[in-house]
Amino acid sequence: MARARLLRAVALSASISLFSGTVESFQKPPDVEAILTHLDDLYRSKSSTSRMEIRVVSRRTTRTLRLKAWSRGEEEVLVVIEEPAREAGTATLRVGDNLWNYLPRIARTIRVPPAMMLGSWMGTDFTNDDLVKESSLHKDFVSRVERRSEDPEGWWLTLEVKPEVVGRWAKIEFLVSDDWLPIEERHFDRKGRLARTMRFDEVKTLGGRRLPARLVLTPTDVEGQSTELRYLEIDFDVPIADDTFSLSRLEQTR
């Protein structure tokens, strides 16, 4: 599930593996399993550093953050806010099941209690189980090719959740391009209603991989609300100092 992987990269972990696979441009229906595996691994790696921009549009205001993130494995992530200046230096560290926030303005580190980890992340439309869950398109869904799309060119896939899987989405409709990059993802809740839509664009080569650098998440029910994530830079599989993911380092991240 590209979305889940993507978000983990942002906040908690980014296991990104380079994929330089072949590109199929035929009209014949592609191998769905292969596509899903590709999507699951699109942003994975053993470690990474990245810079990204998050823009949250709400009915009231638009807020843009620029972040720098380090991640290692599935368990360690450090995110530091670079902009806006007012919040620069604010950092979030996750190690395993613990989450800390460092607030430079008051020079304090606070541990987030487990109960508060359940809600929306940083005021965006991403939820914490987006970030935390070990879910996989390939393993959790039964998939098939639905139809061909001409504009944009690609394939619509329908993914239905397997009965024993515990998750919010009963169905996902996925539009992948002919080179197996995600274009649009639609999430349907357990009642079969369209709950949110994710759109991917700005395909670039980052960190040696070709992938969509921009992702926009729009919930269906809330008007005027959307969250946009844009990668500015990514480096995959880089060595990261051990003490990066420590509290003491947290306080020096300015």
């Binding site: 099941d97 980890m117 359940l118 939820t127 914490n128 009642k191 709950a195």
Partner: protein
């Protein structure tokens, strides 16, 4: 002369039957009223205790040590099984149930509702938490069922979910990791209070344990047959529970109810007092009037040599006799009334605004009067006490009668 005076008292009471009848009737009615009032007062106490207990508090609750201050849903009993056994073995128990709680986030699509989910024992829970008895849609949890949830109406609305929909519950597990489970809504509860409705979500105890990884029993709730035995039963239970666990009464769990009750008790006492005073007034004036009319009689007695002390005793004895019969009458009239109050109860719903259709669930406003052995001494005390008190002045007055003056004065 003692026995003479009592014989005289008796006979004089019998002589003027109408006067006696009136006095006895007056005292009787007064006693009936006092009886009914007291029964209602006690019933009101019971109503409050019931309200508090049945809104989940229970009459007694076994909780983990430290819960009283922290109210952390993650706290667990030191030995839930032992506490449950101890509770079941208590005398006078009407129902016992166990619960556990967890802070969860319910989700359907992008809609979320954070609340405290309660794992219950479906068989016993409705007997102790009356809100879940009134299901607006669907049904309650069935014993042994898995994956089912009963939620409040506001929860369903906020999630945009309906009966038979699957909702996701995420909670923080035992080791701090995030756990999730799906539940199907099998029942929807509407209590009439939106806040309450937005906080109700019940699943079976086993399901909650599976979700959180924490052992199931976090509290044992006990409903007693006689709510007034709460304190004494607590004293019985406390030494039998596992060390570290505490036994709380409903007053400690829901102090706001206790506060109201205390306040109401004082108010009721005041009302009872008022009624007694009024009864007293009625009796006193009647007695006094009677004595006044009999001045000649007393004058004659005095002239015949009856001493003041004896006359006082005479009047008092008359008073006592009247009081006794009055009390008996009061009891005879009042007992059936109180019995009716105790069994059928006063249903206040008819007198309350009908626009709140579900208010009957939030508080069942039926007041059951108290019927018990206390009634006999109560009536006697009031009847005799009131008449004695009322007869003091007349007695003194009678004793002071100057025979010459009294005999001279025309009626």
């Amino acid at each position: 002369m003692a026995w003479v005076s009592s014989k005289y008292a008796f006979r004089s009471v019998g002589r003027n039957l109408r006067r006696t009848a009136l006095s006895v009737l007056g005292i009787g009615i007064g006693c009936t009223l006092a009886l009914v009032t007291e029964s209602i007062n006690r019933g009101r106490d019971e109503l409050f205790a019931r309200m508090g207990a049945y809104s989940g508090a229970g009459h007694l609750r076994v909780v983990p040590g430290g819960w009283r201050l922290r109210r952390d849903p993650r706290l667990r009993l030191a030995d839930g099984k032992r506490d449950l056994e101890a509770a079941r073995s208590l005398p006078g128990v009407a129902a016992v149930t166990v619960r556990a709680r967890a802070q969860v986030l319910l989700a359907m699509g992008t809609h979320v509702v954070p609340l405290e989910m309660v794992g219950v024992d479906p068989e016993n829970e409705p007997r102790t938490y009356r809100f879940v008895q009134n299901l607006e849609e669907g049904r309650y949890l069935a014993p042994g069922e898995s994956g089912a949830a009963v939620v409040g109406r506001a929860v369903a609305e906020r999630l945009r979910a309906e009966l038979d929909d699957d909702i996701l519950a995420t909670a923080v597990g035992k080791d701090g990791d995030i756990e999730a489970a799906l539940f199907r809504i099998v029942g929807i509860v509407a209590t009439g209070s939106e806040d309450l409705d937005a906080s109700i979500c019940q699943v079976t105890l086993d399901d909650l344990e599976a979700l959180t990884g924490l052992p199931s029993v976090a509290e044992v709730a006990v409903i007693l047959e006689d709510w007034q035995a709460s304190e004494s039963t607590r004293a019985l239970l406390a030494p039998r529970v596992a060390p570290g666990d505490e036994v709380l009464t409903w007053g400690e769990i829901a102090p706001e109810f206790q506060g109201h009750m205390e306040q109401d008790k004082a108010a009721s006492r005041f009302i009872g007092f008022l009624i007694i005073v009024i009864v007293l007034l009625g009796v006193a004036s009647a007695q006094l009037a009677a004595v006044l009319e009999r001045r000649r009689e007393f004058a004659v007695l005095s002239a015949l040599g009856m001493q003041a002390g004896h006359m006082v005793r005479l009047v008092l004895q008359e008073g006592l006799t009247l009081g006794f019969f009055g009390g008996a009458l009061g009891f005879a009239l009042g007992a059936p009334l109180v019995w009716h109050l105790a069994s059928a109860g006063l249903d206040f719903r008819e007198y309350m605004g009908s626009s709140y259709s579900f208010q009957g669930v939030v508080l069942e406003p039926i007041l059951y009067g108290d019927f018990g052995i206390w009634m006999i001494p109560y009536v006697l005390l009031i009847a005799v006490g009131a008449t004695l008190a009322a007869s003091l002045y007349p007695a003194w007055f009678a004793a002071r009668t100057d025979p010459a003056v009294a005999l001279r004065v025309a009626q």
